[in-house]
Subunit: 360 residues, 2 copies
């Protein structure tokens, strides 16, 4: 359980310093740290500073290039393909989202598919770049295969998240960021730490049967697509995860399906690589390419207030708008500091010793 | 249960004739009939000719305009907004998808949001227009509210489907078309006809409790978002349905959330109308705006074959690719004719009598 609280500034300085130590420029280290810590701030701590040493291990394994030459290798007025040059996804993603935004300024919308990248933290951080431009932001990424499609024993897809953000007027923005599985891997890890079983519908065992064992992934089991089983629409979660794979990797030339490289550097690479690195997809739609932004935002406010005032099921205080829980976390953690698990503190302390940067 | 089989040609001639009788031009009647019957051919009979009399009732209620002047009311190089002029969605949708395709030819991608429309049948029919141009097709629509978001008793969203299609090379195309609910309303209607209970996770009662009563919607209950409950990710299905509403209606100026007009003409209109008609969203992405179409299709073939050859769970013959079941239905029904339920045959016979067109 979390038992130590750290100010954002302290974690920021530490992580940025580490990124610089592995060779990132000042600007890239800054960009990467902001992206990384946005996960902690928003309460998605599985994707935050707890992964810093994982990124360093990828660099050691020469799978991450700290000085990438990120290139636009193809483009049209509304599209672009980016080669991330094995850079940190935390740096490649903001570059690519900015390209989508720039395209949208000219053509109304911008769509960028990315090859040869690495993990980019949380999708919402990048998608939310669109908000200040009164644009809708869309971000997807593929990931190494942990998910079995409906009727499959084999793992064929990653947790492949979809993120869509839209600005509102007086209300906070709409921010939906969801793994296309019943539960993200981070939630399973939380249960592992607490030694609790998983609900039926989250994982299957190596034979494809229902399981509540949170360690099933280590034994040849798999995460389940959103829906859980066929009767509850797992073929839909599978289809959505597949769409993410197609947009992120088939359009860009990245690896896909079971051939996406894993995040942990100690895991073997897939035997075959039909593309380069992992793939992402970024979209930006200028609201006023459709209707005046003020009109849209006025109606978004009405939409949001309609949902907020819906009658709730007994025992539930309110209907949440996508993005509410994470925004509330961010408000709290920005003020109070970020809680880190002992195991993460130890990992960061070790990492700091190695690079001669005291963590605490 | 279905007990009469009709050749496609017979149903086509009848439906087209009816559309002409209510005032559609020859071309519009042709377009509408193709769209309508594509549902029957693909085995989605809830959205096919069984709804013909429903469309006629909307015309009688002056909610459908048989001679619409469909207009592009705003555009940029990659976007457009269409006013459907209360036309049949079956006609407005192909117009709008064609506009998206035309935009994509010029700008790389095309994105069209539509207001003032009506139900358009199945999304896949329209999305698949993109395939012959080597484009990815994307189609969404909102619908009247039957779905309760997580923790809500009130119905706030429609079944709001998302459809994404992508071409392959030697393999058939990828066609994902999914309601953002655990189960589409049509599946519930099938159980009603058979007097069977619904699985837990499909519907809730008027208090928001789990229910297996297939008639729950008539008693103030609601369909559940994909995921079913919070523990199994219903907030994700809710977020996806919300994205469909935002793209289809908030961008275009159509009605949204609980204010979307219902399909059955006998149901009262929502008390308030913040927009016009129902909303749709259409997207087309030219593959070669990202990479050569041949490369993409070669990798799609590899992707599809990878999934087809995945090891299956005991008792399941194969892992399906999105679009497989519907394509197989279409092959069968095109050859053998389309099965219609007695109740549908009677409804069409009555409709035919009224317009002096013998059905059978």
């Amino acid at each position: 359980m979390p038992d130590q609280i750290f100010p954002y500034k302290q974690l920021f300085a530490f992580a940025k310093n580490i990124f610089q130590k592995i060779g990132c420029s000042d600007l890239d280290a800054d960009t990467a740290t902001k992206a990384l810590l946005s996960a902690d701030l928003r309460g998605i701590d599985s994707h935050g500073i707890a992964r810093l040493s994982g990124y360093v291990r990828l660099w050691e394994a020469k799978r991450v290039n700290a000085k990438p030459e990120i290139k636009i290798i193809h483009q049209t007025p509304s599209t672009g393909v980016v080669d991330g040059d094995k850079g940190l996804g935390l740096v490649v993603a903001p570059f690519s989202m900015q390209l989508a935004i720039d395209k949208a300024k000219q053509a109304g919308t911008g769509w960028v598919s990315v090859q040869n990248s690495n993990h980019f933290g949380i999708a919402a951080h990048h998608a939310m770049m669109a908000l200040q431009h009164d644009m809708i932001g869309i971000v997807m990424t593929n990931a190494s295969s942990t998910v079995a499609p409906t009727f499959s024993v084999d793992r064929m897809l990653g947790t492949n998240p979809i993120c869509v953000v839209a600005p509102a007027g007086e209300e906070p923005p709409f921010v939906a960021d969801l793994a296309t599985t019943t539960a993200a891997n981070g939630k399973l890890e939380n249960l592992q730490r607490k030694n609790l079983p998983a609900p039926v519908g989250w994982v299957q065992d190596a034979e494809g049967s229902n399981s509540t064992d949170v360690n099933e992934l280590k034994k040849g089991g798999a995460l389940l697509p959103l829906g859980g089983d066929r009767e509850h629409g797992s073929h839909k979660g599978y289809a959505l995860g597949a769409v993410v794979d197609i947009f992120s990797a088939l359009l860009s030339g990245a690896n896909y399906a079971p051939w996406v490289p894993p995040f942990p550097a100690y895991l073997p690479m897939p035997a075959e690589q039909p593309g380069k690195g992992i793939g992402h997809f970024f979209g930006a739609m200028r609201i006023d390419a459709f209707r005046p932004a003020e009109d849209f935002k006025k109606h978004m406010d009405k939409w949001i207030r309609g949902f907020r005032s819906a009658k709730t099921i007994k025992g539930h205080e309110r209907v949440l708008i996508p993005g509410d829980p994470e925004r509330e976390m961010e408000e709290k953690y920005s003020k109070e500091g970020l809680p880190l698990l002992d195991i993460v503190v130890k990992d960061l302390t070790d990492l700091g010793k190695r690079f001669e940067i005291p963590f605490n």
